[in-house]
Subunit: 273 residues, 2 copies
Amino acid sequence: MEKLRRNDRMSAMMKILSDAPNRIFTLSSFCEMFGTAKSTMSEDIDLLREMVKHFHLGELETVTGAAGGVRYLSKVDRQEARQYIEGLCEQLSGTARVLPCGYIYDADILCAPESVDRLGAILATEYYDAAPDFVLTMETKGIPVAFATARNLGVPLVIARRFSKVYEGSAVYIDYMSGSSGSLETMSLSRRAVKEGQKCLIVDDFLKGGGTAKGMTELMREFKVEVVGMAFILATTTPVKKRVTGAKSLMTLEFSGEEQENAVVRPADWLMN
Amino acid sequence: MEKLRRNDRMSAMMKILSDAPNRIFTLSSFCEMFGTAKSTMSEDIDLLREMVKHFHLGELETVTGAAGGVRYLSKVDRQEARQYIEGLCEQLSGTARVLPCGYIYDADILCAPESVDRLGAILATEYYDAAPDFVLTMETKGIPVAFATARNLGVPLVIARRFSKVYEGSAVYIDYMSGSSGSLETMSLSRRAVKEGQKCLIVDDFLKGGGTAKGMTELMREFKVEVVGMAFILATTTPVKKRVTGAKSLMTLEFSGEEQENAVVRPADWLMN
């Protein structure tokens, strides 16, 4: 490559910025990387911002001040989010995925890169403003989506464990009541995992009674961490009253038919506005 | 945006291609998206390929034939992989992270977006040629890295479960002997998760005795799935003889000091070539 052109700079920047969503890159770091003047870099970034907007590829934000620079936000606009979720609802609805006891098979969707990335971006879009310091999930099924959300928010994931046989050093244990079964369960988190005064976003795959979610909020209270949001992929319509308030889900699940053999999955109301 | 320029096309393509590693995009899909002729698109892609190479941002590959097009591979070259792993070894070595019974605290590194993405890309680099159909991991700690590896390989993640209380429909259960403790354990996988005749890459965070890894290979045998590779983030130097062969790890762990209070973490030999 003889001389770097604007083409090269813009596409390299796009890659670097979008690989690290919500992380601020200083103008000077790019100037150094490409050997260009600040004024040229500013123009490159303006053009990139316009392109990203045009193709609905997220958002490029200029941050002013001493720690200023530019960052990429993987924002998905409401209409696109709705369309995507509607497609998922279609995939999940019907009889083919129904499991006993009010569950549906969705492990494939929760583990496929396309859907996980997309769900993570949609959830992150809702919580950029809340600026959590980390995302908390409870093992196991929600981990990929929670990780994708954390990645898009530019923060670490923290995993609460269900069992004590873990090798993470001294831990805080809490007992909680499972919302759906009413049985007593335990969850634990390593003492090193989070710091007092941090802000946390809870992300999980499934909300039914809300017992696990409530357990996570109690766990965070033990660590003196503020819960700034709770997001779920799928929430059952019953029980209507969950053990937690303020939870946001992307889809709702209910069953119809004589033997509850038909799953009806719909986009959540807030997505329709 | 009045008229799309090469700048815009190249940076948009970079974003779209690198968001879906190892997925083939046809030239015509880009032509349609940008409203350009095939010859222009080919030029754009040639320039992009050069840029990606120049900045060590992976690799752009042209695939010929009927199902042809262009795809992005998140390849990390050996030297960069080594440097990155050396940095991690430094972070993990010493007394600060040592836990009882031959473990070290690495949950933070296994859950932070930067390290997870990088480890996933380094592992994927090693297994593009093996072309697995999915990545298999055993819950819990390795899930984010296994997901990142799967994402870079453009295939789904499949999670084997340790406990029976899961809502994934009919499942195959196997008993296996834990390599380190010698106790009998159970792992399960939903019948729907994989298909006969597929190829699988096993990815997990920790290899000690190799019992869990062996369990995963046996589980795959039950499903008539071929294991094309086994990759681990960290492997203990003892026992030297693991219950599986052909495993590749990024780092090795041993302990020194009178009370084994000092962790010595080193890059694996194969990375040094």
